[in-house]
């Protein structure tokens, strides 16, 4: 029974740890499917986290915090769009720039506004998203097998967790069952064809980036208002890049993205759980090895040893209308 409980606990933290990855990964999916590479997921998450926690603690409302996180994150996404769509700048350079501006400005403004060494004040109960207990969770907690699964694994998460997982089928539906999604995918593969059909490539790509901004805003808000009761400097700690890795791992598909993020979240959860405890066959696994594993797996995938990851064809190329 101990082993079963341990597994449930690891899976529970897997869910918690994979949510920011999943939101950021789906965010990246929108922009990359529209042909805009986005290295700036990390930075947009970071400003989202900062804006969310700062606004929530100033206005004493979790919802205002979330709204602010989304707003600022979208603003950064639009800067990326302005540079890479309107001015046809290098998308990777622009993404790198956004990451730096985000990393620096969150610390500077946080210190200037709250004077707590780059932190925002600890969020009070009403200022963060609380866990939702499903009906009857407490009643059946003691039922073997089903009880813990229902009470621990499914129930007891914040609304943003359920939102993240609901976004997976929603994104699939948007991409594959709506006109907007069809055009979005088309503009990532062959923007000239979309242009010929009389649809504005630039406006379509801007809309894709707005979707990206909204979702990275949610991802940031989750980090600072659910996982942590406030903003801490550099709190994304490379999650944006892991999300990028997950996106490649998922071959730019929404459902795959969920599994990739759960896998990377599981590696993270397992590395925390296994810290210092020796495993049966392999012996003691170092934390660093577990932390590096998502990156190593992505490189192996990119090398073409686990299937082949083919990015959207027009990705990274600014669209120049024929003249």
């Amino acid at each position: 029974m101990d082993i079963f409980n341990a597994i449930i606990q690891v899976l529970d933290s897997t869910v918690r740890l994979s949510v920011p990855l999943l939101l950021a990964c789906l965010a990246g999916l929108y922009s990359e499917r529209a042909g805009i590479f986005d290295i700036g997921l990390e930075g947009k998450m970071l400003v989202g986290a900062f804006a969310g926690a700062a606004a929530a603690s100033v206005f004493h409302s979790a919802l205002i915090g979330l709204g602010m996180a989304v707003l600022i994150s979208v603003a950064f996404a639009l800067v990326h769009g302005f540079a890479s769509i309107t001015h046809r700048g290098n998308q990777i350079v622009s993404g790198v720039a956004i990451n730096f501006i985000a990393a620096g400005s969150t610390i500077i403004l946080g210190q200037a506004w709250f004077q707590q060494g780059g932190r925002t004040p600890a969020l009070q109960p009403g200022e963060r998203f609380e866990a939702i207990t499903w009906p009857g969770a407490d009643a059946i907690r003691d039922v073997p097998i089903i009880g813990p699964i229902y009470a621990e694994l499914l129930s007891g998460h914040s609304i943003l967790v359920y939102f993240a997982f609901a976004m997976v089928p929603f994104t699939w539906w948007v991409l594959y069952r709506t006109r907007f999604g069809l055009r979005l995918r088309a503009v990532g593969e062959n923007p000239a064809a979309v242009d010929t059909a009389g649809i504005s490539v630039a406006w379509l790509r801007y809309r894709a980036l707005i979707c990206t901004g909204i979702l990275t805003g949610f991802a940031g808000a989750y980090l600072s208002m659910v996982q942590n009761g406030g903003f801490v400097k550099d709190m994304t700690a490379g999650k944006g890049y892991i999300a990028l890795a997950a996106l490649i791992f998922a071959k730019w598909k929404p459902v795959n993205a969920m599994f990739a993020c759960l896998l990377f979240g599981f590696l993270d959860a397992a590395s925390i759980r296994l810290q210092g405890t020796p495993l049966p066959i392999v012996g003691k696994v170092s934390v660093q090895f577990m932390q590096a594993l998502p990156y190593v797996l992505t490189v192996i995938l990119l090398a073409g040893f686990i299937g082949k990851a083919i990015p959207p064809r027009a990705g990274g190329v600014p669209y120049v209308k024929e003249r």
């Binding site: 290098n90 620096g104 990156y295 490189v299």
Partner: protein
């Protein structure tokens, strides 16, 4: 092939436009300073005084610049070949391992002038090897070099943390770093050069690797503009198709360019490790690899420009430290914002002001911007 922009005179192209882009970046940074509630002009004065006011300040500025020359050159060499090496950070970090091996083995037996060349070779070799795998994957497997080098940054960081909290840490020590090097692995200081000009220096880490950085800048210029290999790299960077048509081996050129880039990134580690801290510690690169991106873009990928841009960033680092004393609201992280803004305006938005400047030039003298030629072609 229609070029979207007509030609400007060279001085405007290489002087005016970068200057405008840079000014805009600093003006926006000034707004951030205002948002924090400080006076941006006073901040700028403190910054420049901190960097150049005293001999010690100048020495520190040049010390930081040394680091950025290496990383800037590293990014530039790859960029000339059309490759975005975002992995400079990781290549420099892992090169610390090569230096650690050399220094820990020889610092008690050899003098510095024998350890130094060995460490140069070791750091360059390790950096180059760390760049080799992403290069190979790009050349042979078509995996995007930006993504693989980012992944390799994280993998490098994991390996170094593992080594520095484990095997490389001396027994009984708590700090995650190697033991301190002995005199045989300490680079001589260069502070006497500044003292020649009458300035006084208390203690600054400016060391002989500054000269190595300048030599490398010259060698990179030689490589890119005066050798066949450099020509091939530029050709490939300009048009991979044309390069293939000209019989340039894609695999060879990508791997060579990335290994040179990695070697330059690796040599960066010499400056802080052997010149200043005298040990290899966790996170000793601390973002210098990423600064290299800003430096390379600002220097327009030319070694002279890179040296100047590296000096500017050295000034920001040194002056920024002084600024943090004077204005507690502004920490050193202000530089990270400036760095981001420089990358944004000098890199991603480099063409933003070009049409306006062209229009301005055209209104003064149509011929100078080649308007007639464009009109003649009916483009």
């Amino acid at each position: 092939m229609s070029t979207p922009y007509a030609k400007l005179p060279a001085w405007a192209d290489y002087g005016l436009i970068p200057l405008i882009n840079l000014s805009v970046a600093f003006i926006v940074a000034g707004f951030v300073v205002m948002l924090v509630g400080e006076n941006p002009l006073r901040a700028a004065v403190i910054l420049v005084e901190g960097a150049f006011g005293k001999g010690t300040g100048i020495a520190f500025t040049l010390f930081y610049a040394t680091t950025f020359i290496f990383t800037g050159l590293s990014v530039a060499v790859a960029a000339h070949c059309g490759l975005f090496n975002i992995g400079t950070e990781g290549q420099a970090y892992i090169a610390g391992l090569g230096i650690a091996i050399v220094c820990l083995s020889f610092d008690s037996t050899l003098p510095w002038w024998l350890t130094f060349p060995l460490a140069i070779v070791a750091s360059a070799l390790v950096g180059a090897l760390w760049a080799l795998i992403p290069a190979y994957l790009q050349a042979k497997r078509g995996s995007h070099i930006v993504i693989t080098t980012i992944m390799f940054n994280f993998i490098a960081a994991s390996i170094m943390v593992y080594l520095l909290v484990g095997p490389l840490k001396p027994a009984g020590s708590q700090a995650p770093q190697t033991r301190n090097f002995l005199a045989g692995a300490e680079l001589p200081k260069l502070n006497w050069i500044i003292e020649l000009f009458g300035a006084k220096i208390r203690s600054a880490p400016l060391n002989i690797s500054f000269l190595l950085a300048l030599a490398m800048a010259f060698l990179v210029w030689l490589l890119i503009w005066r050798t066949k290999l450099g020509y091939e790299m530029r050709t490939y960077g300009h048009s991979p198709k044309a390069a293939r048509y000209a019989g340039i081996s894609e695999t060879r050129i990508i791997i060579t360019a990335m290994m040179i880039s990695g070697a330059l990134a690796g040599m960066m580690a010499l400056n802080p490790v052997m010149g200043d801290q005298h040990n290899v510690a966790i996170d000793f690169v601390s973002g210098a690899g990423f600064v290299g991106i800003a430096v390379a873009l600002m220097g327009r990928l030319h070694p002279v420009g890179i040296v100047l841009a590296a000096m500017l960033f050295g000034m920001l680092y040194q002056g920024g430290a002084e600024l943090a004393f004077e204005m507690p609201a502004i920490s050193r992280d202000m530089i990270v914002i400036i760095q981001g803004l420089v990358i944004l305006f000098a890199g991603a938005l480099e063409h933003m002001f070009r049409p306006y400047i062209q229009a301005l030039f055209a209104s003064f003298s149509p011929k100078s911007v080649g308007m007639q030629a464009v009109n003649g072609k009916g483009a």
